[in-house]
């Protein structure tokens, strides 16, 4: 790796494995690994906070933490998971895989890429330093005013500044992805032959560029309201609902920012382990595009309880329901890929199939939230918490972990332990459903979210106990994966270039790839050049 012939037009990346070489690296693969390391750290941090939440709610009048601390914990849990884990972990895989998948030497702007990563770490550090400077933010990850304006201390200010930095990191990264994907594809890699994961990172980036600046604007106004006497969102002259519009105009597309790359990973894994081409490649690309577009028209379904006029309610309801159509198309095409296949249950495939089932639950519970009359009963209750964990939680825990098991051999050159991988999947699958399925029932029977204690209501303590127990089962599954990843670095079986007999270009080069990625490229005549190569070889062999 160290002495690989570096083409003259690229940056002379420091080589070796010294600390300095990692800090100054502009290699997309190393930056991808740094992203992965940091986002996994924040995942564990956010997960620890989830355990505090679950312990507090195990009994009706939990005393694990005070109400004030509880507010800080759930605010930081949500903020961490969304901004420091699920969104940037997609950038981790995107960074590592997109240039490889399109046969490029690196990202379009390697130095900007490094800047995106360091801004992520900086933004996270700023936000977490609030704990040391008088208290963390405590107004929920949505930060609704006037509560977030009158919240004392500087927790919310740290939150705002931290989010500004993280937004900048994401926007710069997204611009880099768009430029890379649209300018640096290898000869023959037409858009219609691009791997679906790369397609998803393309739309992920477009949505980030379109949505995040709106959040930044709203946060700036909030900062001014808090510190400089403006009244954008306060009651005297301003309008608290305006903030909610801004927030969700960003916030709903954000859901798809997270979802699309997860879909992309599933769409990579399913055909490889079914030994078939992906079913309906074009339909999948169109449905990704449709979801990315419709995602900008539905933000109001987070706000039905503010009291819109009926026509506005109806618009947001129909637009939201419309997203079910392309989402259904994706699921049907995935199952179509399995149909008549020859399915090999390696860990990535288990995670992928498990993800489809869980995502189906999250998608179907979304129908209740799109229909505004029902939404008015279940919104802001634990039903919503159940819903968004089946969506936003199943993506990182199942789609991304599927992607991790799938690409780990490429990133490290070693295989993960297979039976540990299978165990991790089943432990996570059981724990996930134990934790989040009962939350549907809690919400339906009237338990609001974001409460640090709850009244004695028949069944609530029992359901919360199950959820708490489940959260520890999830933790065990996560620890198994971490253990597997760490020990396999040394002990894993050597992977070789293409351990899965996969389809896309990243499997053409060595594992891990050299600094310059490819010594040569195969001809690209379809969306799965490696399958074409195998077919040609088989034909030649007679």
């Amino acid at each position: 790796m160290a002495t690989a012939a570096t083409p003259a037009q690229t940056f002379p990346a420091p080589s070796g494995s010294t600390l300095r070489s990692w800090i100054t690296t502009v290699d997309h693969k190393r930056i991808g690994l740094l992203y992965l390391l940091v986002t996994m750290f924040f995942f564990l941090t956010g997960g620890l906070m989830a355990l505090v939440i679950r312990l507090q709610l195990e009994t009706a009048s939990g005393t694990v933490v005070s109400a004030e601390t509880y507010d800080q914990i759930f605010t930081m849990h949500g903020t961490t998971m969304v901004f420091l884990f699920v969104v940037p972990v997609m950038a981790a895989f995107g960074n590592y895989m997109v240039p490889l998948q399109i046969g490029a030497r690196d990202m379009a702007f390697p130095k900007l890429n490094a800047a995106s990563f360091w801004l992520l770490l900086f933004g996270g550090t700023v936000m977490y330093s609030s704990f040391a400077f008088g208290g963390a933010p405590d107004a929920g990850w949505t930060g609704y005013p006037p509560l977030s304006v009158i919240s004392p201390g500087h927790g919310i200010d740290f939150w705002i500044v931290g989010l500004h930095i993280l937004s900048l990191s994401s926007i710069l990264g997204a611009i880099n992805f768009i430029c890379t994907i649209h300018n640096m594809r290898a000869p023959g890699m037409r858009l219609t032959r691009m791997p679906l994961f790369t397609w998803c990172i393309d739309f992920y980036s477009i949505m980030i560029v379109a949505a995040l600046p709106v959040l930044s604007g709203a946060l700036t106004m909030l900062l001014l309201d808090r510190n400089y006497g403006t009244h954008f969102f306060t009651a005297n002259g301003g309008n608290p609902v305006l903030y909610q519009h801004f927030f969700w105009f960003f916030g709903h597309p954000e859901v798809y920012v997270v979802a699309l790359p997860g879909f992309g990973m599933i769409s990579e894994i399913l055909p490889v382990f079914s030994r078939k081409p992906i079913f309906g490649y074009k339909a999948l690309v169109y449905s990704i595009a449709a979801i990315a577009f419709l995602g900008f028209l539905v933000w109001g379904h987070h706000m039905f309880a503010v009291g819109f006029s009926t026509p506005v309610d109806i618009w947001f309801m129909i637009a939201s329901l419309a997203i079910a159509v392309p989402t259904g198309v994706k699921i049907f095409n995935w199952i179509g890929t399995l149909w008549m296949g020859r399915i090999r249950y390696e860990p990535p495939m288990l995670f992928a199939v498990g993800f489809i089932l869980l995502f189906m639950i999250g998608g179907l519970s979304g129908v209740f939230l799109a229909i505004f009359s029902i939404d008015l009963q279940v919104t802001d209750s634990y039903f919503v918490v159940a819903h968004f964990h089946y969506v936003m939680g199943s993506i990182p825990v199942f789609a991304v972990m599927g992607g991790l098991h799938y690409w780990y051999p490429k990133m490290t050159g070693r295989m993960l332990n297979r039976s540990l991988g299978i165990w991790s999947f089943w432990v996570l699958f059981v724990g996930f459903n134990m934790t989040f399925f009962p939350m549907h029932a809690m919400g339906l029977s009237g338990m609001p979210r974001r409460i640090s204690s709850y009244p004695q209501h028949p069944g609530w303590e029992r359901m919360n106990e199950i959820a708490t127990l489940g959260s520890f089962v999830i933790s065990l599954g996560v620890l198994l994966i971490v253990y597997n990843c760490l020990t396999s670095l040394r002990n894993g079986r050597v992977a070789g270039d293409d351990p899965w007999q996969a389809n896309t270009l990243e499997w053409y080069t060595s594992s891990p790839p050299p600094a310059h990625n490819f010594d040569s490229l195969p001809p690209i005549r379809s969306e799965r050049p490696l399958a074409d190569l195998r077919a040609e070889a088989a034909e030649a062999a007679g």
Partner: protein, 226 residues
């Protein structure tokens, strides 16, 4: 999974539905909910069943020789089919929602107007004659009488939610918002602020006490405070 779901059905009967609705708007939402539940559970069983069946049926078993699977790349006819069928289902669900909507939104005429003031972390209710119910966070109303709530907040956003009596409504500091109910059964109904409003959010409970019309008149003349 399917077996587990079937076995769990009796246990789910009480937990898969909203709390017993006792007001026309809540009842109307409840029947919309049940329709959507029926449709979505059916879809989950069919599509989830198809997924699980395919995932098991087409698995590679060790020690057997397999031919290469058919390299099918898609089917336009299927794509059109599984685009149109969901659209039709969603149109049906929307139509049913709209059919049930008037009872959710339309406040009956001659409703009793009650003022609601929310603040961190309590509710104050005011009758048309200026009196208040005795006791904190408690609203006392007569049975079978439409009640129209005119709500505002003194500080941050709150949300009035008594599930058995109907939908949530946010309460804002800069405008008046409205909701209504008509309790059809005597008894106590528990509710709670449903928009996070600060460290006391969990304690911002609501009790709606529904009395017979006679008891209500008695209550107003003896217990209600000025």
């Amino acid at each position: 999974m399917l077996v587990a779901l079937t076995l769990a059905q009796p246990a789910l009967a009480g937990t898969a539905t909203l709390n017993q609705p006792e007001s026309p708007n809540a009842q109307s939402i409840d029947s919309t909910y049940r329709a959507v539940l029926g449709v979505t559970v059916t879809i989950f069983v069919l599509v989830g069943g198809w997924l699980v069946y395919s995932a098991i049926r087409f698995r590679e078993r060790p020690g057997r020789e397999y031919p290469d699977p058919p390299q099918v790349r898609g089917s336009t006819r299927l794509e059109i089919g599984w685009t149109i069928v969901p659209i039709l289902i969603l149109v049906g669900l929307s139509a049913f929602t709209f059919y049930k909507l008037p009872k959710v939104e339309d406040v009956p005429k001659n409703a009793m107007q009650i003022g609601v003031t929310a603040q961190q972390y309590s509710w104050t209710f005011t009758y048309p004659n200026g009196k208040h119910p005795a006791g904190p966070n408690t609203l006392v109303v007569p049975v079978d009488t439409p009640i129209h709530l005119n709500m505002h907040s003194k500080d941050v956003v709150h949300d009035f939610w008594v599930e058995q009596l109907g939908q949530k409504q946010d309460v804002f500091p800069n405008r008046i918002t409205h909701t209504w109910f008509q309790a059809d059964k005597i008894g106590n109904y528990d509710g709670q602020c449903a928009e996070f409003c600060g460290s006391g959010h969990a304690t911002m409970t609501i009790v709606v006490r529904v009395l017979s019309k006679e008891d209500y008149l008695k209550y107003m003349s003896t217990k209600a405070t000025t």
